[in-house]
């Protein structure tokens, strides 16, 4: 009987611990920031036209930035892309 009782306590504790950890995780994430850029990403992802813009992945600039980044070379860490308003950025949409 006491064996059964302690087993039950054991499983009860485990449940509580799991619950707390899960709760803390989402609380901590929410505490870090109220913003959720991934939802904006999903939205844009859904409106993207297939094969448009693929060229950027093929450029020498992008490739060399990517490969040196993977190797951990920090002197090449920033890849900055710019374009004035009205040059066709919206057109790509």
């Amino acid at each position: 009987m006491s064996q059964l009782f302690s087993n039950n306590i054991g499983s009860l504790n485990t449940t509580n611990i799991n619950f707390t950890v899960t709760g803390d995780r989402s609380n901590i994430l929410a505490w870090l920031s109220p913003l959720d850029p991934r939802s904006r990403h999903k939205d844009i992802q859904g409106r993207r036209v297939e094969n448009v813009g693929e060229w950027i992945l093929q450029t020498e600039e992008f490739r060399s930035w990517y490969s040196s980044s993977v190797e951990g070379a920090s002197d090449n860490a920033v890849f900055f892309c710019y374009g004035s308003p009205g040059v066709g950025k919206t057109y790509l949409r």
């Binding site: 803390d24 870090l32 409106r47 992008f62 860490a77 890849f79 892309c81 374009g83």
Partner: protein
């Protein structure tokens, strides 16, 4: 650059990152959301994305959270706290940060943001779109 191109690059990085044990975090600036897109919230959201991909929340972060909960009134998460946590988290494995429409970030915020990213970027690659 259009949102589409950066969104495409983000997906491409995510695909490639999976094989490299790397993580990717993104951010889209928006004129319409300038008030809530403060440097603290913005960098916090990068950190949130990096942490999301990990099985466990790094101890440094959960400890800071607990301290904050125990403090009376709580001083709130400071920019310097987030930068420190980002430095530690991003140094553990290859990390890509993609930022879209930097020109839509308030100028005063942008200075702080770039200063913080500069600190963090000593150890990781960053992709920025204006």
């Amino acid at each position: 650059m259009s949102d589409d191109v950066s969104s495409l690059v983000i997906d491409s990085l995510c695909d490639q990152a999976r094989g490299q044990n790397a993580t990717v975090a993104c951010f889209y600036f928006d004129f319409a959301a300038q008030n809530e897109q403060s440097p603290t919230n913005m960098l916090g959201s990068l950190l949130k994305q990096l942490v999301c991909g990990q099985e466990e929340i790094p101890e440094e972060i959960s400890r800071a959270y607990q301290d904050e909960q125990n403090a009376i009134g709580g001083r709130g998460l400071q920019l310097s706290d987030i930068v420190k946590m980002l430095e530690t988290t991003s140094s553990k494995k290859p990390t890509f940060i993609c930022i879209d429409a930097l020109d839509e970030c308030v100028e005063g915020h942008r200075v702080k943001l770039l200063g913080s990213l500069n600190k963090i970027s000593k150890a990781l690659p960053i992709l920025e779109y204006s």
